[in-house]
Amino acid sequence: MQRIGVFICWCGSNIAATVDVKKVAETIKSEPGVVYSENYQYMCSENGQQLIKQAIKEHNLTGIVVGSCSPRMHEATFRKTAEAAGLNPYMVEIANIREHCSWIHKDMDEATEKAIVLVRTAIAKVKLNAPLQAGESPVVKRALVIGGGIAGIQAALDIADAGFEVDIVEKNATIGGRMAQLDKTFPTLDCSACILTPKMVDCAQHEKIDILSYSEVEEVKGFVGNFNVKIRRKARYVDETKCTGCKICMEKCPSKKGLNTFNMGLNNRPAIHIPFAQAIPNVAVIDPEQCIKLKTGKCGICQKFCGAGAIDYEQKDTFVEREYGAIVVATGFKPIALDNFNEYGYAENKDVITSLELERLMNAAGPTDGVLLRPSDGKHPKVITFIQCVGSRDTSGCGKPYCSKICCMYTAKHAMLIREKYPDTEVHVFYIDVRTPGKNYDEFYRRAVEQYGVDYIKGMVGKVYNENGKLMVQGSNLIDNEQITIESDLVVLATAIEPEPSIRKVATLLTASIDTNNFLTESHAKLRPVESPTAGVYLAGVCQGPKDIPETVSQASACAAKVIGLLAKDKLKTNPCVAVPDEMMCNGCSQCANVCAYGAITYVDKEFRLGGGKTEIRRVASVNPAVCQGCGACTVTCPSGTMDLKGFSSKQIMSEVEAICKK
């Protein structure tokens, strides 16, 4: 039999002025199960809490109801009070007789009557409360970073520096990501390689960091603190431990006509290659689509010439399985395909290029050794026109509805660099808006205009066409209300960016949610911007939304801080108000797992006794209390009522309903 104690707070006059607190306390005394009922001026005060503690001990209370302000205010306080008196903190219920009663009603009788009902309702619930214990789960002190771009690198370094093991899984043959392809970076114009490659080397040399390049995540099991991840190490046909990076194979390879993807396909590379000079790991990889040996069985030249004996044509994909406590997703981005934008003539004209292609053309290690030559004839372009917002801010369905955020700044950078290096070049920029929020950003853009004389035209391009070898860029100049046509030698499209397509698979594996633009969703846009709703999964870089390098690095470090905070704990305390299945009734139909936003539900085959000596194996749901957030979506989806929610059980809610309806 429950022994319930009821404590009615006056909250000074906040409650007592409209609710006859003494009458409430008195009336409640006759409720079945109530053995103690008291009222006091401030229950949350030291003395009030003392009163509660004393009553719990003296009257041997098994549960208490505090009629006071909102549980959002003092539930935690009274739970601690109960705990201090030796009562399980979850045996406390709050009747909200302030916000939901005294403050909104004026008539004393009415408010008092309602307060009695609210207290009765809380009593009905607390009678069905069960003592709950917050669970604990151990934490594996190792983190996984998916993606080896600047976001992944920064997060890995920060985590490793704090003393935790980190694995970076990178799907390409080298880490470095998009930043490695860039020439200079805004707003300081330092060389991208100069600031990135030392970090890449740091990763390679850090004793706590393990780089799994040319690898992909295949399977993720487990939950925060205890992820079990299966990683596919794709066959690179080169033994990573033997290859010295001498590049003789690249010289000797007879199949040299592969598109150099690192250079955005602007030149060719051999079938066996190291993506770029500062690649980490500095190990060759064979493109099986291009390799003559792998395609026809004949050739084997690289093997012959490899002094280290690193070439292995028989290599197969292998799998490694590792345990992690936390996962950082940093899968990055790619420019969108321009198939929907025929008006810019990208497909027809070699000299219409994307900004990322321009980066490679201007890079000292690029296809033109850093000399700006146009792709069609290798001549210096004299007139260069930039077009902004190509596919960004487009709600017509052809492009992306969002602003890609980085284009305004990198275009200013490009324009500035060109004007600096080749002062005889005319540079025009068609823009809709120039967006430069950020430290020293607007100054940077204004420098391009004021110092370098870049011609910014407010307006958009309607058409780019080739006339006698010249690129005619027809657009509007809204300031002058004119339509103009600029004869250009090179046209650069500020192409919108989108999340790397592999993000969909990663999101599915992690049960992380994704928005309509394929960006990963953060737990809270303002207050938890680097956490995924899936506990233990963190988001860094453009996989969460468009952002530039400084922002990406900040977010990566923020992720690292979150990961370090998590890995620093030996055990995780879990919210005890979680879903719990009654295996005896579970059909294993999987409907609950379908609505779980956190992937907290899995299924196991269990043996059940049927009576008469018979047994049956049934598939039943199992909830991981460390992952479940306690929303209750599963409880309603479950037709058999197998799923219930601790702290908000169906019976508790129904008894509240009954208490309210009892007139």
């Binding site: 294993g588 139909c589 194996i617 049934r618 989806t637 037709p639 058999s640």
Partner: protein, 326 residues
């Protein structure tokens, strides 16, 4: 139809003799032509009672929940509409698909003996089917009936004669085209006033004797323990004396199978009081189709149901109301 029966029998014999399957689920002869019962045949001898005729209306797929757990493979004869239930059960992991051999069989629409009797024919001794006409003999004489008038309710609004799953098929004749009228009766009710609808359902549900036949026959009601049998659920009830109970049971049952009900029509077929229970489930189906896009449960054996999925632009509950045009 006789040729189909013979072919099925022959195939069942082969499968049992060859040991390919351990049992075949089909129908067994009853006391009359019109009362075959579902049965599991484990030997060729048992097949002596095998039957397949116009009264084999029962949906056999639910029996597979138990059968697929038994040793050896189970072969089952599934009519087109039963195949939806089969898929739905596979989707919900209630049937181990690998243990089942599905034989898709022809169906020309099944007959309802109660409808025959409702024509005033009593003491029926023999029924003969011939194309569109059915001859009924009784102790009081012989009557010729038109098949369309005595089809089972579920067959009179057949949703199509295409099997959604099969390992092999026995289809010897062309099957009738789907009858696209299954929402007509729902629409008729929707067109009534609230008061009329309430009166209609009051009168119908008052008849309910809470025998649970609708629930127990329903392939979607495959719970190990039903909430209505479970004292811990808070809504357990055996009686249906009060009008609330009569409604509660049917509302909750319809909600629990919403998005999962394949509209196999078994609930109405088995109701001893002939309550049009399928009109409850069809309302959900119609609303789901109208509000969230066409969905047919059991069309596939995987994927989410309309109630376990959503779109960001779903209609607001307060605007989705009523049978009015959406």
């Amino acid at each position: 139809m006789k040729d189909v029966e013979l072919k099925m029998l022959e195939r069942a014999k082969q499968l049992l003799e060859s040991g390919e399957v351990a049992r075949v689920i089909g129908w067994k002869k009853g006391e009359f032509y019109f009362d075959p019962a579902p049965a599991s045949f484990e030997t060729v001898e048992e097949l002596g009672d095998f039957v397949y005729n116009g009264f084999c209306g029962a949906n056999l797929s639910k029996y597979l929940i138990q059968a697929s757990k038994k040793e050896g493979k189970t072969a089952i004869f599934l009519k087109p509409c039963d195949s939806y239930s089969f898929n739905q059960l596979v989707k919900e992991h209630r049937i181990v698909r690998e243990n089942i051999h599905v034989i898709a069989i022809e169906c020309q629409g099944k007959l309802d003996i109660e409808k025959i009797k409702a024509q005033g024919i009593s003491a029926v001794t023999e029924v003969e089917e011939e194309g569109e006409s059915v001859t009924v003999s009784s102790l009081y004489g012989e009557t010729k009936l038109n098949k369309a008038e005595i089809l089972l309710g579920k067959c009179a609004s057949c949703k199509g004669k295409t099997h959604q799953v099969k390992d092999e098929e026995i289809i010897l004749h062309e099957m009738p085209a789907p009858i696209n009228n299954r929402f007509d009766e729902v629409a008729k009710l929707e067109a009534m006033t609230e008061d009329e609808r309430f009166a209609f359902w009051r009168e119908q549900l008052q008849k309910c004797i809470r025998c649970n036949a609708c629930r127990n026959v329903c392939p979607a009601c495959s719970c190990v323990k039903c909430v209505f049998d479970n004292p811990a659920s808070g809504i357990e009830a055996k009686a249906n004396d009060d009008k609330f109970e009569e409604q509660l049971f049917h509302i909750i049952r319809a909600f629990h199978v919403a998005g999962r009900c394949t509209d196999c029509g078994e609930c109405s077929r088995v109701c001893p009081q002939n309550i049009p229970l399928h009109l409850l489930n069809r309302k959900f189906i119609k609303d789901i189709d109208g509000l969230y896009g066409e969905f047919q449960a059991g069309e596939t054996d995987n994927g989410k149901t309309p109630l376990t999925s959503y779109t960001e632009s779903d209609v607001e509950p307060n605007n989705a109301l009523g049978g009015e045009a959406k």
